[in-house]
């Protein structure tokens, strides 16, 4: 079920009404309702894959309890291994099986050995990377004795499958979200209105910015050799805003929806295109994933408490794994590696923690923000391209600088109008974000008039005829 569909509107309104009017003050029933709603929400896409969620849920619920009950280190480790094995095994099979098989065959064939192994037709279950990481965080935290295991299966199952953030995050930590299922929920006016406003802002980012940008981005990236330098450069900029609008739009809708049910989810994006360097960018982009990798991979590897050589190694591992998390394609790994290369000079100069918690932009810093954005855009080319070769071609053609035509953006009145919509909505987005950034807010807080204005923009400038799936569903 897509957030940007009429089905979701009806689904959401029905669940909301039953939640607050029928089961108000009955938290157990509210949780059961949320669980059923979450399974319906997920099953709407493909009910068969509910079994995977259910399997992860059952495994981690019991493993969590058994780990907590055991004081024997070996046994605890063994149990953690079971959880990691099953969860990562499912993820690996559904997401990476064909990638490994194809690369294995290719590696041997490059040595002159012909191998026959057929790829399987595997459908990637929507959101598997997200809920797998969420449920893993629970088992690992129980193992680390950071949290107590829950005794309530329904609460745990709802935590794993909570529909607002099930398929594309934010990847919640058990320590933050799980206790909220045990707490009594009272309808909170300001929480609900802020949730609703955040949903409006999220929809604007998704259906107005991302989906309109997609019109040009798809044309340019699918046939990049047919375009000149300016078109390719602008195509990259539009993709930067497409993926941002798409993904952060989803997060905003998810967080807003959760607030309407009385839940607080973590901030997932904090104005990433106002970052002053790459390290700052990674503190603002997909925060729930980068902090996940920090806590469960970077720190166990030694983090920043090891020699500088090992720190560099750790940074590379984190970025490469983060790239690979996005998809079974070398392009994502190169994208991760690209960011690692941009990050390491900051680490070596101990500048990676600069601009922490800043909410001011000095005039000179505008240049820093711009150069960071340009670097991020270059990396996006690898993220979006079908293969490394086509990304390289794209990059070469873009830097050739031999054709400055704007053809694709002005080819007909319709194209010109869409170009205007894309760029004016991007300017609006940046205007709102700079305002929120300077105020020190974590998110764009719309006024009543602002909300009305953006609803009208969504209605009359959004893409509804051919709704586009959220990009991160495929991850």
């Amino acid at each position: 079920m897509l957030f940007n569909s009429a089905t979701f509107l009806i689904f959401f309104a029905s669940v909301f009404a039953i939640y607050w009017f029928v089961f108000n003050h009955k938290k157990h029933y509210q949780n059961i309702l949320l669980l059923i709603a979450s399974y319906v929400f997920y099953g709407w896409w493909d009910w068969r894959f509910l079994s995977l969620i259910l399997l992860s849920t059952v495994v981690d619920f019991y493993v969590g309890t058994w780990i907590s009950n055991s004081q024997v280190v070996k046994r605890r480790k063994f149990l953690l291994g079971i959880s990691l094995g099953i969860n990562l095994g499912l993820l690996g099979f559904f997401k990476y099986y064909n990638f490994f098989i194809d690369n294995w065959i290719e590696a041997w064939s490059s040595l002159g050995v012909t191998m026959h192994a057929s790829s399987l037709r595997i459908i990637l279950p929507v959101g598997i990377s997200f809920y797998t990481f969420q449920t893993l965080s629970y088992t690992i935290d129980v193992y680390r004795k950071k949290i107590e295991p829950t005794k309530h299966f329904i609460n745990f199952a709802t935590f794993v499958a909570f529909f607002p953030q099930l398929v594309a995050g934010p990847i919640e930590r058990a320590a933050n979200l799980l206790p909220q299922f045990s707490a009594k929920r009272m309808f909170n006016y300001s929480q609900a209105t802020s949730g609703l406003k955040l949903m409006i802002w999220g929809f604007f980012k998704k259906v107005v910015i991302a989906d309109n940008c997609a019109f040009f981005v798809n044309q340019i990236f699918e046939n990049s050799h047919a375009y000149g330098s300016t078109e390719l450069a602008l195509g990259t900029v539009l993709f930067a805003f497409q993926i941002y609008g798409d993904f952060s739009g989803y997060s905003d809708i998810a967080i807003g929806t959760a607030r309407l049910f009385g839940f607080d989810l973590m901030t997932n994006f904090k104005f990433p295109y106002l970052s002053k360097n790459i390290a700052d960018f990674w503190r603002r982009w997909h925060i729930s994933l980068s902090t996940w990798f920090r806590d469960y991979l970077y720190i166990p590897l030694g983090g920043s408490r090891v020699s500088i050589k090992k720190q560099v190694r750790n940074v590379f591992i984190i970025f490469l794994v983060s790239g690979f998390w996005h998809g079974a394609n070398w392009t994502f790994i190169v994208w991760g590696g690209f960011h690692a290369i941009l990050f390491i000079p900051l680490l070596l100069q101990s500048k990676n923690r600069r601009h922490l918690h800043e909410n001011k932009i000095r005039t000179i810093e505008i240049l820093k923000i711009f150069s960071t954005f340009v670097l991020v855009c270059l990396a996006w080319i690898y993220f979006r391209a079908d293969s490394i070769l086509s990304a390289n071609d794209y990059m070469i053609n873009m830097f050739k600088g031999n054709d400055f035509s704007m053809g694709v953006f002005i080819k007909s009145p319709k194209y010109l109008l869409l170009t205007l919509i894309c760029f004016s909505s991007i300017i609006l987005l940046l205007f709102e974000e700079v305002r929120a950034y300077l105020k020190g807010d974590n998110e764009v807080l719309l006024s009543k008039t602002g909300s009305a204005f953006y609803i009208l923009l969504i209605m009359f400038m959004g893409v509804f005829k051919n709704p586009i799936e959220f990009i991160y569903f495929q991850f």
Binding site: A6, K414, L417, A452, M459, F460, G462, K465
Partner: protein, 293 residues
Amino acid sequence: MRLFLINIIKFGLIVFLLAQLFGFGSLYLLRKSAFYKPSFLANQVIDKEFDYIILGSSTGLTTLNSLQIDSITGLSGINLSMDDTSMGSHYLMLEHFFGLQKKTRYCVLTISDFNMDKENSEMSGNDYRFLPFISESYVYDYYKTYEKGFIKPLVHSKYFPLLGVGYYNAEIFYPSIMSLFQREKRNRFDNKGNYKFPNTNLNIDREFKDVSFDVKNPFFEKIKSLCEQNNVELIVYQPPIFKRRSYTLDSIKNFINHSNILKGKQYFVDFLHVNEEGREKATEALANVLKSI
């Protein structure tokens, strides 16, 4: 919760009214424009009586030149074909034509074999172009009968134009803004309703094929009976197709089959559409037949 609901209702009502205002405004502007064929016919075509009209999809639009037909035959006609449309759209256009109190002696219906073979009554993707005329019963009834899906934005636009205008914003809302400044602007057709493809040649080949079709499309019968009701002679015209001869064993009155009259790539831009040279030849051939009628 009570306060929340009251405020949401108040806020929703204001936004709804504003959106309705934009919706009505947009449809009004488009209705008064000449951007799409239905509005063009209502506002820019002053003549009330014609000798012939041409109905069809992109093949009718780009194959036949009503100016050339007029100059050969001495008749007066107009091309009402619209690209990417189906037989249902042609039917609706004919209804619209009569709805505007216009008259014609002949109706040249441009067909395609695959369209005639279709058994299902389906709308085309470009039927939203009639949306500014949703208050007319024939448009509303057409949408009501044939629009599919859950929301049905076209049907419900009769009372909630925000739905249709929002859903088809690129096709309705943006052109309506454009027509605010350029009321006379037409969407790729001249003042006689014609459009021609750039003069390029087809660069791929295919084997010659005979294709038979049956007359199954329910809209064909509807068009026939609408013509009969209005004393209009229906002429069914099969335009040239590259290396294809289409034929039917069903009897069609006044069937002009020109599917195989243009031989050679030099007349086509693709398998279905002719270029400028092909257009001239095909129009001439039809004009000569019309002249003899």
